[in-house]
Point group: C2
DNA sequence: TCGAGATTTTGACGCAGATCAAGTCCGGCG
DNA sequence: CGCCGGACTTGATCTGCGTCAAAATCTCGA
């Protein structure tokens, strides 16, 4: 049973603080859209249909080269948003989006959304704040990609994914895609995990699940050399 | 003779569209600050003093590791801004800033700026739009760093810097810093330039000036492999 | 104009991680 | 239940770029 537009919007921290009126107006323009696992949501350079809010499932945002190499910029889960930048700035999709699992989103179409932003100061402020977070995240990504080595990047990923429950980590998607997010090949990703296991830092539990044995050691590796 | 606060703010495309009142209020909180060549403006992790608008000169925004490696995120010239993200999002400086040449800026201090944003819808929208550009630029940077090789990155830099006048390119700062921006060492940067020259794509004119002979070839190299 | 210090260039060499090539594991479907 | 195809692992080899070292060149102040 997939959630309604209201539920999705309410679950988005991003709109948590907008006032009643603004929320109703948002709701009025919202459309629920669904995607099968693996389905393409949009591809880079095509006009952006609007801003998406994820209700359930997982979406992968990535760049693709003519030759087929891919770089994952972001994995977007429930309560998070994507394509805000293109929607607000009114440029075409800078990247591709694809559902990693069966996914339900709210789509806030371009024109009415821009109109809303032009009219509602509160909404505008919210968006401004969350864009700041986006920028911060991207700066961290650049830092990660250029200042850390492979082991450091993997360690950082594991620590980030484990923040919820203490020790167990569920890898949310294919290792191949996680590797692409870290600018690694899946071979290297695999080898690094193996090394971490031999070093006693982690332990494989199941297919996409592992346990952090020695958090200290991971933090050491992630500590910018 | 360095420019006044009004001149600096007027020259910033970013505030070009804000209305008279908002502009006056901005001006009211603006402080002119000056930096010597090489002077540190702020360092990462310290509280952010506010948002800066460059009037004259050039500022280098970069991350530094404990071990002293540096990654240049951005070079900020006249009419451009920096630290907007930290100022608006109210977090500490995510990176270091340093004047590359003698520089005059306007500083819009944190609290009054935030107050202004909370009160002025138009200003808020402007900031939102320019943050979108920031995000776009960062996404391009990530793409550049991970999808292109050294020659491709250098080619892209040259093409970008040459957009004004057709063929001649002036390198705005030390090659060392440009190299750091591309995640290269200065040695590699130098070698790539040499190769491009041997291949007849460019020609050295003077210290920090070169000419693009074969634009086609550069575009080929930058064409994402 | 000269000279010290910084920047850049050039060369030799090493290594992290990519690429290529077999496997191995697993999940789904006939 | 057994087969098939995609995901993952593992090993061998290759290579782009970093590191170290030294020479060449520039800049700027005395």
């Amino acid at each position: 049973m997939s959630p309604s537009a209201v539920e999705i919007l309410e679950n988005c921290p991003f709109f948590a603080d907008v006032n009643e009126t603004a929320f109703r107006r948002l709701f009025a323009i919202a459309r629920v859209v669904r995607f099968r696992s693996g389905q393409t949501i949009f591809v880079q350079n095509e006009p952006c249909p609007g801003m998406y809010v994820v209700g359930t499932g997982l979406v992968r945002i990535f760049k693709r080269t003519p030759q087929g190499r891919e770089r994952v910029l972001h994995l977007v889960g429930p309560g998070e948003t994507f394509a805000e930048v293109a929607a607000i700035g009114n440029f075409s999709c800078p990247a591709c989006a694809e559902a990693v699992s069966p996914t339900t989103c709210v789509l806030l179409p371009l024109e009415p959304l821009q109109k809303l932003i032009a009219e509602d100061h509160e909404l505008c402020r919210q968006l401004l704040l969350s864009l700041c977070l986006w920028v911060k995240r991207l700066v961290d990504l650049v830092e990660d990609l250029t200042l850390r080595d492979a082991a450091g990047r993997v360690a950082r990923l594991l620590l980030e994914k484990s923040q919820r429950d203490h020790r167990k980590v569920r890898l949310p998607t294919l290792k191949r895609h996680l590797a692409a997010q870290l600018d690694l090949t899946s071979e290297t990703f695999s080898r690094v995990l193996r090394r971490l296991e031999l070093a006693g830092a982690i332990k494989h539990l199941a297919r996409n699940e592992l346990e952090i044995i020695n958090k200290r050691k991971l933090e050491e590796l992630a500590r910018l050399e």
